[in-house]
């Protein structure tokens, strides 16, 4: 029995009750998984494309987020279902890898599973379906490569990059100013990009947001902005030709790390210690002053006395600068971060043409802007907007645009958007399907059908008749042998995506297919779920 009694007659449990455990098996498990995935995909579907809608998410603590970004929605949605969690992961890995297409990947996975469901009903084994999907996915990625285009750009001619960034921003709330936002993102990426190595370190782009003003006031600053003010109210607020000393040691009396105690046994000692302390501050300031620095950024705090000594010596200072900010400033100004006062020297100073404190609005929130730095490869995008949610959403959108631009610099192959690539790949796969002699033929064909989900959702969100539109485009693609035809979401009276300048990056799209396919294969493989019962409070 699961209950026993000890020598005092108190009962204790040997095996926990089994009722709380849940178990689903076989086809049932598969079907419930597919249903869960479909539900999530359906939530995301309406966010796809330039006319997609937003989701409003209320967090545990009642904070409101309004967003169009697939990864953010899924992340904040508190999904409890295990398959749902896989999809959340899927969207996240697309976000980490590519940065864009986070909605599309989930919609695609949902659609693939939906198609698999009908195949399972026909009695095809899930393993055969995954094999078929694998074949189809390979055909699709190869086909995408063959229809891809290269775009040429350089630092001077960044127009194609801006066009791509605009596609990415088209579905977000910032699309009112998406030309401007796209320009900002592209210029930001180009200024930190290493075009020879074809790499971009996005960490060099800092994003600061401040509510107030309008979206149009968003700007790109060639330098660093930090959310701090000068430490003493009477220090100068504008410093030209700044020589910046970056410190990670506090302007405070020393705190040895080993435990110690100084015993004061008589009045003499007391006086001496007082003098040593005074001298300590003076030495610290002297050392910094001797290097010729005229601005100090410190990661730690200052003592009141040190603060005043700095003022007296004409050294403006900023305290409590975050570690990451300090690193960025070091990079931008060419300075070295100094951890001990003994190591301070003139060659470790950073330089900046202009450092100034700026205040906003009526509350006088102060920001320190460090501009005209020698190394332009650190920039800040300063986002403004009518309210907190808009600023946050604008930041997320710009992040997506930055990622897309980076991907283009890494690999300049593009394919056309608006669902054209999916339609074209679908046509290719279904023609190939007939050549397969085995059961996989059905799965391959199902893959082709699943690809239709993207153009269908795009058309539906844009207020077009989805099936009619899709059929027309498919016929047109076959007739003209033109893989660039897609859904005309913005009502521009042309289906040619090259004319509409709607691009996606090839790696982004390929990644979408691969990731979605992988997750689907994983879900199809599961045939048994054992769920541990929740711990009861008793």
């Amino acid at each position: 029995m699961s209950l026993a009694f000890d020598e005092y007659g108190r009962p204790f449990i040997i095996i926990r009750e089994q009722q709380a455990k849940e178990r689903v098996k076989g086809i049932e498990a598969l079907k419930s998984h597919i249903l869960a995935a479909k539900t999530i995909a359906n939530i995301m579907k309406s966010s796809l494309g330039p006319k997609g809608m937003d989701k409003m998410i209320v967090s545990q603590d009642g904070d409101v987020t309004v967003t169009n970004d697939g990864a953010t929605i899924l992340d904040n949605m508190q999904v409890d279902n295990q398959i749902g969690k896989l999809l959340v992961q899927l969207s996240k890995s697309q976000d980490d890898e590519v940065g864009d297409g986070t909605t599309g990947v989930v919609v695609l996975a949902g659609s693939l599973l939906e198609q698999a469901e009908s195949l399972i009903e026909k009695g095809i084994h899930p393993c055969r379906i995954s094999e078929g999907y694998e074949v189809a996915c390979k055909i699709a990625t190869e086909h995408l490569k063959s229809i891809s285009d290269r775009i040429e750009f350089s630092k001077e001619n960044c127009e194609p990059l801006i066009k791509t960034a605009m596609t990415c921003l088209g579905s977000k709330i910032v699309n009112r100013y998406h030309r401007q936002m796209a320009e900002i993102s592209v210029r930001a990426v180009l200024s930190v990009a290493d075009l020879d190595r074809k790499d971009v370190n996005l960490e060099n782009i800092k994003m600061e947001g401040k509510e107030g003003g309008k979206l149009e006031d968003t700007q790109l600053i060639k330098g660093v902005i930090i959310d701090k003010g000068i430490s003493h109210p009477q220090m100068p607020k504008t410093i030209k030709d700044a020589k910046i000393c970056l410190l990670t040691c506090p302007f405070e009396p020393p705190k040895p790390k080993t435990k110690n105690s100084i015993e004061i046994t008589n009045a003499e000692d007391f006086k001496r210690l007082g003098e040593i302390e005074q001298q300590y501050f003076i030495d610290m300031v002297e050392k910094v002053k001797a290097t010729g620095a005229n601005l100090i950024l410190c990661q730690w705090g200052f003592d009141d006395e040190a603060n005043h000594l700095l003022l007296q010596n004409g050294l403006p200072a900023v305290r409590w600068v975050g570690g990451l900010d300090l690193e960025k400033i070091a990079m931008a100004t060419g300075g070295r971060i100094v951890a001990r006062f003994e190591d301070v020297s003139a060659d470790k100073l950073g330089h900046a043409g202009l450092v100034r404190e700026i205040g906003f609005g009526t509350t006088q929130d102060r920001y320190l802007s460090i501009e005209e730095c020698p190394n332009t490869s650190a920039v800040t995008i300063f986002v403004r907007g009518g309210n907190k949610m808009i600023v946050e959403e604008a930041k997320r959108s710009i992040h997506d645009a930055l990622c897309v631009t980076r991907n283009l610099i890494r690999d300049n192959r593009i394919i056309y958007g608006g669902g054209s690539a999916e339609i074209s790949a679908g046509i290719k796969i279904s023609s190939k399907a007939d050549e397969i002699a085995t059961v996989e033929q059905y799965a391959v064909r199902a893959f082709a059908d699943a690809l239709d989900a993207i153009p269908l959702a795009l058309a539906e969100n844009s207020g077009l008749a989805p099936i009619e539109t899709l059929a027309a485009i498919k016929a047109q693609q076959l007739k003209d042998n033109n893989p660039r035809l897609g859904v005309d979401c913005n009502a521009r009276n042309t289906n040619d995506m090259k004319e509409q300048h709607v691009f996606d990056t090839l790696p982004g799209k390929t990644q979408q297919l691969l990731l979605a396919n992988q997750v689907v294969k994983m879900v199809l493989k599961i045939d048994d779920v054992i769920k541990q019962g929740a711990e009861s409070d008793e």
Binding site: M56, N76, G274, E305, G361
Partner: protein
């Protein structure tokens, strides 16, 4: 076999999802409810609200200020939270128009709801609104006038703006008086926008009319015991230093003594250290010493003996302002008297405001800072007066930097509505409906102002519309006589920047709410259960 019927739980237990129409409906209901709540406070005849705090029922606020009302109420609806947020941002950014921005966003959504009921797609509405807001902004920019080159006229503008802002508040009766106070205060900043330099002191007693602007600086502190109470041409040292016991800050310092005599010696040494610090301070050749921190009796006595007036516990803001007005620097070390900038003024004296003693610094060299002394019957009135003065100061400091002004009293709204209507007439397609809706939402502002004043709003607004269409672009509501009139003559002027911010933020928020088609609500954070 039963799994077909078993519901699959996707979201977290207790989390909820609302989709499509229902999600939209719940945001509209929330946003409109908030709008209806604050809209009665709009305009010169708007009413006030009483806010009672949940934690302390005795804590009562009576206010007319949109941002104060909205930030103080508990809201659960996410769309309503967005409106509260724009109102707060408006307050931080320009200081006024906090009610208007919320009302305009709410009215836009009310119009949007009607369009959705007619099966217009939200994206169509949004693209229509975008065109409309652009046109409205152009119309507003065109109507703005700039008088910054003409000093007298600009001052008149500022006075009118202050009067407009104050007229909807409790200070309405004394608006002439207060408008002069705030304009003088802001002009003293000479283009700076740091409102910290304007100190507002509230003293209950007397009437609102007895409030005044003090050119000097008033510190709500007491002069140390035994010090002179009046000083002419003082030399002031402003410090931020410990004057209780001068601790040794080196880590790990610890006193170990083995006899009573050592202890008393140490005590003497401590005393001596403090006195030598005092001596250093007195050696600066000063006769007034103001410290941010506490001053103990011993140093206070030393200062009194040497004829130095000492003032302790001046708070941080006080110190900063004092340093600014007396042209001194805030000192923490005293080894280099020759480097320290000593502050001065004409006269320091202890004066009485109402029944409290304060220290007044008059004849200060840097007149950038000043003090507004508010008097009023109760603390509620004083607090509301302070909020109103703050609003007015914010608007004026914004106007000093962005000198363009526009006409108030519903005139600008009608002007924009007319431009938007013209756009609607030229736009083909369903977008035109959204553009018309935008114009209607703009016209709601004068309608509400008239309603709040108890006039026949439909009559007045249609008269106003006719006047604007006949080319009378300066027509607006005359809320004194309940008719329409030339607003330029009546002098109801508002800051261009405030008006523009209202328009842009309201539109951004409305668009944001409009774009939502799905509302996901997380399960509330579970309370920590008490284990027993």
């Amino acid at each position: 076999m039963t799994s077909q019927l078993q519901p699959i739980q996707i979201l977290h237990h207790n989390a909820s999802e609302e989709r499509g129409e229902i999600a939209r409906l719940s945001s509209f209901v929330g946003a409109i409810a908030i709008t209806d709540l604050v809209k009665t406070t709009l305009g010169p005849k708007g009413m006030d609200k009483i806010l009672i705090s949940a934690s302390n029922p005795n804590d009562i606020i009576i206010t007319n200020d949109g941002a104060t009302i909205l930030t103080k109420i508990y809201i659960d609806n996410p769309a309503a939270k967005i409106l509260v947020d724009i109102s707060r941002t408006q307050d931080d950014e320009v200081g006024d128009g906090t009610t208007s921005v919320c009302v305009l966003a709410g009215e836009l959504l009310r119009e949007g709801e009607k369009l959705i009921a007619q099966k217009v797609h939200p994206q169509t509405i949004i693209s229509g609104w975008r065109l409309a807001v652009e046109t409205a902004r152009n119309a507003l920019t065109k109507s703005a006038v700039d008088h910054s080159s003409d000093k007298d006229k600009f001052r008149q503008d500022l006075l009118n703006i202050a009067k407009t802002t104050l007229s909807s508040k409790i200070l309405h009766t004394e608006k002439e008086h207060f408008a002069n106070i705030v304009v003088d205060a802001v002009l003293r900043l000479r283009g700076g926008s740091n409102l910290d330099n304007i100190h507002i002191i509230k003293k209950s007693g007397g009437s609102l009319r007895e409030s005044y602007l003090d050119e000097g600086f008033i510190l709500e502190k007491k002069i140390g015991v035994g010090c002179p109470k009046r000083l002419e041409n003082p030399k002031i040292l402003i410090a931020n230093t410990a004057m209780d016991t001068d601790k040794i800050k080196i880590f790990g310092g610890k006193v170990v003594v083995d006899s009573m005599t050592e202890l008393s010696k140490l005590e003497d040494a401590e005393k001596e250290k403090m006195l030598s610090k005092c001596k250093k301070i007195v050696d600066h050749g000063i006769n007034c010493f103001i410290n941010r921190q506490l001053i103990y009796n011993l140093p206070e006595q030393y200062f009194a003996d040497h004829g130095v007036m000492s003032i302790e516990h001046a708070d941080f803001d006080g110190i900063e302002r004092l340093a600014l007005v007396t042209n001194a620097e805030i000192v923490s070390t005293f080894d280099h008297p020759e480097l320290v900038k000593i502050g001065t003024c004409k006269l320091i004296e202890e004066v009485m405001i109402g029944e409290d003693k304060v220290i007044k610094f008059s004849g200060v060299p840097e007149a950038a800072a000043c003090t507004i002394v508010l008097r009023g019957a109760t603390s509620h009135i004083l607090e509301e007066a302070e909020r109103s003065i703050h609003d007015a100061l914010c608007v004026l400091s914004v106007t000093v930097n962005e000198t363009r002004t526009v006409l108030g009293a519903g005139c600008s709204e009608m002007l924009m509505a007319k431009a938007v209507d013209e756009l609607a007439a030229q736009t083909p397609g369903k977008k035109a409906m959204a553009i018309e809706a935008f114009a209607r939402a703009l016209r709601q502002i004068p309608t509400i102002i008239a309603n709040n004043a108890g006039y026949d709003s439909s009559e007045l607004v249609s008269q106003l519309k006719a006047a604007h269409n006949q080319g009378n672009t300066k027509a607006g509501l005359n809320m004194r006589d309940g008719c329409i009139g030339n607003i330029d003559e009546i002098g109801v002027i508002e800051s261009f920047k405030v008006k523009q911010q209202v328009l842009v933020s309201a539109h951004e928020a409305a668009e944001m709410i409009m774009r939502v088609d799905d509302l996901l609500r997380a399960a509330p954070r579970p309370r920590q259960q008490m284990r027993h």
